[in-house]
Subunit: 158 residues, 2 copies
C-alpha cells in the first residue's frame, strides 16, 4: 500500500522543549498554555473556529525516533500491544489531543490543556463535539481502573 | 516544514464502495459492520486490544481528491472555515472515528458503527477512553443545536 504524505498546516509553540516531562494526557494539563501557528495559506480555514471551546488537534510526534509493537505503560508495568496503549512509540507517531481553545489572534490559536512538544507539526484541526462520541457499554480492557493515574502522569525517558 | 510520511498499518473492508452515501458520523451508523485488516507485520501490536469495547481509528480518506478552506455543511448551508467543520475536503484528509470493536480474529478487527469507505488505509489504532476527554464548559460554536442532524446524516456528492 502506498505511503501517505501530509503537509503540515501549522506548528506548536509549547513550553516542552524535549520529550521528557510532557504531560501524558492533555486533559490533565490544565495549567499549560501554548500556541498553534497556522501557516498563512490556511488562514481562511479558521473562520468560525473561535465559537468552539475545544478543538481536536492532530499532530505528528516529531521527536519520536523509534517504534515498538509492545509498550509497558508506567501505570502497570506489563507489556501490552501498542495499539491498546497511548504510547508515542507507535508505527505512525500520530497524536490526537483535545485542547481548550482560549482565543484566536489571526492565525495564532492560544490553547491550554496541552501535551505536545515545542515545534510539533500540526496536520489538522477539527471541532470537538462530545455528543458524537459513544458513551454507553464502554469497556476499557487493561486500562480499567487505571485512567485516573494517566490524567496526571508525565512522560519519562521510556 | 518537511512533509510527514506514514506507512499504512492496515486497510478497511466496508460496504461503502464510493464516497456518496457514507454515514457522516460513525456514532450514527450502528447497523453498519466492517473489517479492518491489520497487516501481518503489526499483529503483535494488537495484543490486549480485545478488552476494549471501542477503538479510535485514524485513517486516510483516500477517495478525497480536492480540498477547500471553506465548507458548507448540509445542516446549515452557510460557509464555515474547514477547520471548524467535519468536511472531508480538508488540506490533509485525515479521518478519526470511534468505532465499536466487536471481536478480533488474529489480524482482523470486526467493527461496527463505521463511516469509512472500502479500501481506506488505516494509519493508527488507539484505545478509546472517554474519561480522557473534557466534558465541562463545552461551547460548540456554529454547530450548537445541530449535532443531532449530524448523527444520522449521510454524505452526498459535495
Amino acid at each position: 500500500m502506498n505511503p501517505v504524505i501530509y503537509k503540515p498546516i501549522g506548528v506548536i509553540y509549547s513550553p516542552f522543549k524535549n520529550r521528557v516531562g510532557i504531560p501524558r494526557q492533555a486533559v490533565g494539563a490544565t495549567e499549560v498554555s501554548a500556541k498553534i501557528e497556522i501557516f498563512g495559506e490556511y488562514i481562511d480555514g479558521l473562520s468560525d473556529l473561535d465559537g468552539f471551546s475545544h478543538v481536536i488537534v492532530i499532530f505528528h510526534m516529531h521527536l519520536i525516533e523509534r517504534s515498538s509493537l509492545k509498550a509497558s505503560p508506567p501505570w502497570d508495568n506489563k507489556e501490552h500491544g501498542v495499539f491498546s496503549t497511548c504510547s508515542p512509540f507507535r508505527p505512525n507517531p500520530i497524536g490526537i489531543s483535545v485542547v481548550r481553545l482560549e482565543s484566536i489572534d489571526r492565525n495564532i490559536l492560544n490553547i491550554s490543556c496541552i501535551d505536545m512538544a515545542d515545534g510539533t507539526p500540526v496536520l489538522d484541526i477539527k471541532p470537538y463535539v462530545p455528543d458524537l462520541n459513544p458513551t454507553k457499554d464502554i469497556r476499557l480492557g487493561w486500562l480499567n481502573g487505571r485512567v485516573k493515574g494517566m490524567n496526571k502522569s508525565k512522560s519519562g525517558d521510556r
